[in-house]
């Protein structure tokens, strides 16, 4: 079965979505990621969606859920590299994913994770 690889870098997990997400895949990712966070005691999760070009409301909600679940498991989540078209679509769908941290690229995402963890922020803030 198709799976999205979850890479461990230090105490972070990196998920790079390179294929079009379908519902089953999104659910599998959710299961895998939560398991991995607990297993490796990850402090932060970076989800790179720069190759993702199509989203629907389900995928949008799943991304939001994944972020919320990670937070419950004490791992900060940053969504990086969203395409303009995807951002516009999500906003038009009425999903502005409040409470999810975002960054322009993996570099900035890592920096954001670092500061968030240093400050011991609970992640429910405004994403700055």
């Amino acid at each position: 079965m198709e799976r999205i690889p979850i890479l461990k870098i230090g105490s972070y997990l990196l998920v790079s979505i390179q294929v079009d997400m379908h519902d089953r895949l999104a659910m599998t990712l959710q299961d895998d990621l939560t398991e991995q966070i607990v297993r490796v005691r990850a402090k932060g999760v970076l989800i790179d969606i720069s190759s993702l070009e199509i989203v629907d409301s389900f995928i949008g909600r799943t991304l939001g859920n994944i972020a919320a679940m990670s937070r419950v498991l004490d791992a900060q989540t940053v969504l990086v590299g969203m395409q303009p078209a995807v951002a516009i679509t999500l906003v038009e769908l009425g999903m502005s994913l409040p409470g999810v941290r975002t960054a322009l690229n993996v570099d900035q995402g890592l920096a954001l994770l670092q500061t968030a963890i240093d400050q011991g922020d609970d992640g429910a803030g405004d994403g700055h």
């Binding site: 038009e92 502005s96 900035q108």
Partner: protein
């Protein structure tokens, strides 16, 4: 029957060409008033008469078919030129319609007492000239519409520049009313530039937006939300006192969006966020 009328009209046209040209030009001058350009009118008129006579001889007086293509091409060219020079549609169409009187005078002389033939001939000629006249108006209108469409596009592009204030700080000065289609363009160009420049902060400057109602506010919030999803923060600046009052009266919730009264304040915040400071240099 109809072919003989066609031939006779064609004959009238070719036989009296120079005389008709002079008469027609005089009428154009009367109708054209200030815009009349002797040389241009003479050239176009004689060209038209030749093409018109040729079309009748080769085809029919129906005003359709491949024989008429040259006439239509010439008229299209003429109308486009005149539309560009600011002629009104009726002034453009007057070029063709002023030929009627001239042609009918000649036809009357040609047919003499044959009133049946004269009525037929006038009817056919009138028909085809009307068709041609309407065609000039049509082309004129189309040309004007092209101009309007182009200006609209230019306005749309002009009004949404995204400027880079500093490394990683973008500004989007908005001028004019924000409607749905403009918001779309604004949003797209801002997001594209955010990707291009990897900017972390975007300042939306709305001094030039005359009114902010619930719809405009919603459009602004959408733009801010989309930019945030991509990982850039937005600051809305240039909120005039009047607009602040409207926003509150309307009960618009700007949520967590940072708002500043002036662009300078917004820029200061942006610099602070980027861990930059501006200091005065020591003067000697």
């Amino acid at each position: 029957m109809s072919s003989t009328i066609d031939q006779r009209i064609a004959q009238v046209l070719t036989a009296n060409e120079s005389e008709m040209l002079a008469d027609w030009l005089k009428r154009q001058q009367q109708e054209g008033r200030t815009r009349y350009d002797e040389a241009e009118a003479r050239e176009k008129s004689s060209q038209f008469l030749k093409l018109f006579a040729a079309a009748i001889q080769n085809g029919s007086l129906e005003g359709v078919g491949p024989q008429w293509q040259d006439v239509y091409d010439m008229l299209a060219d003429l109308s486009r030129n005149r539309a560009q020079q600011g002629f009104s549609p009726s002034e453009t169409a007057a070029f063709i319609f002023s030929l009627k009187q001239t042609l009918f005078d000649r036809l009357r002389r040609e047919f003499g007492s044959d009133s049946h033939g004269l009525v037929d001939a006038v009817w056919t000629a009138s028909n085809v000239l009307d068709k041609l006249g309407l065609y000039t108006t049509e082309v004129h209108q189309k040309r004007r519409e092209e101009v309007i469409a182009r200006q609209q596009q230019e306005l749309l592009e002009l009004s949404t520049p995204v400027v880079e204030l500093w490394d990683g700080i973008l500004a989007l000065p908005l001028i004019g009313t924000l409607d749905s289609s403009r918001t779309q363009v604004v949003m797209e160009s801002l997001l594209e530039r955010i990707v291009e420049t990897s900017a972390k902060i975007a300042i939306i400057e709305i001094t030039g937006v005359p009114t902010v109602d619930t719809l405009v506010a919603q459009h602004l919030l959408k733009t801010v939300a989309a930019a945030r999803l991509m990982g850039a923060d937005c600051i809305i600046s240039g909120i005039r006192p009047q607009i602040a009052q409207t926003i509150v009266h309307l009960g618009v919730d700007l949520g967590t969006v940072i708002t500043k009264a002036t662009l300078a304040d917004a820029f200061r915040i942006a610099l602070q966020r980027s861990n930059l400071t501006v200091t005065r240099t020591q003067t000697s």
